[in-house]
Symmetry: C2
Subunit: 199 residues, 2 copies
């Protein structure tokens, strides 16, 4: 008899296996995990439903269709990434933020379930340029480029526009090469970013 039974709602959930959040959250959590780990085309709706413990009608009432679920997955990755990046560089001087950002990329590449960039995966898997998830991914690339430009200016780069382009290349290279060869490539990219911005 746990004393928490005083909580009038949701005390049943303590007994059920794992319904920690709303159905929408459960579905999005599961889809996000499976889509990143195995790919959006390899994972069917039924897999998501089974692992989320949800019903088909819930998925379709919340997300409309699978393509929109994929777009929501990309949207969530973007929201998380921006928050993580901004928190990671917040408390250091703007001139050092670009390099600091590559520290975060190294950490990411070292995490055991790292499998490359989920946005890039979606673009590769969904070749239709009108797919809803691609517009979301394109938006994030613009945000990224704007950050690099801002940080390159703050670092006093002689040609901030060129430096921003180079930083985009280094970021994509760090992520893609680490996906194949391991996190050392992300360190290589960080080193080049340091060289780039030390002039």
């Amino acid at each position: 008899m746990p004393p928490k039974s005083r909580q009038k709602t949701k005390n049943i959930q303590r007994i059920e296996p794992a319904p920690p959040a709303s159905v929408r959250e459960r579905l999005l959590d599961t889809a996000d995990r499976l889509f990143y780990r195995e790919g959006v085309r390899a994972v069917g709706i039924d897999r998501v439903l089974a692992e989320a413990g949800a019903a088909k009608a819930s998925l379709y009432s919340h997300f409309g269709c699978k393509d929109d679920l994929v777009a929501a997955h990309v949207e969530r990755r973007i929201t998380d990434a921006r928050a993580r990046i901004e928190a990671y560089v917040a408390d250091i001087p703007p001139a050092e933020r670009a390099l600091r950002f590559f520290d975060l990329v190294v950490e990411w590449a070292k995490s055991p379930d790292f499998r490359g960039c989920p946005l890039h995966h979606v673009v590769v898997e969904l070749s239709d340029p009108k797919h809803p998830a691609r517009a979301v991914a394109a938006k994030q690339r613009q945000w990224m480029h704007a950050r690099f430009l801002e940080w390159a200016r703050a670092a006093g780069a002689p040609n901030p526009a060129a430096a921003a382009g180079a930083l985009v290349v280094l970021f994509d290279g760090a992520v893609t090469a680490s996906e194949h060869d391991g996190p050392q490539r992300a360190r290589d990219a960080r080193w080049m970013a340091g060289q780039l911005l030390s002039h």
Copy 2:
């Protein structure tokens, strides 16, 4: 009445619509084109058969299964790429070959049907590490790394191993970023490679 009718074999092929090569070649040509353009999971066997004008039994007798057809597609891309690269850098001094290689990457990124690296696409789409196509792709990455190491040594880089790692990052970054943003990113990568090797 063309005089070539003296050719005793294959004069019928001049009349038929387009059977330019053996069935195996036709199948591989078609699969290669479709897999790169739309993705290996998005393109079904029937699409390949219809566009190649071949029968299902031909495909399965020549390639065994779809996974092996995908592996053959990757193998062909590798063979073509190596020949193209070696021809492109053959007649210039070894010290300049790394930079010359990035000229080729820029040309590639500028071609209208460029859609990123087919090897990387296959790795993204086929998350199973035991897929036959992945071993083929891994082999090409080792070849690539060996070339970069060789070229970095020839260019007199103070730390050839570190330079080779950096060149891998720049190559992957050039291809991935150009896939999203256009060929300017490949030029950005070439510029960084020049900076890297000018020390």
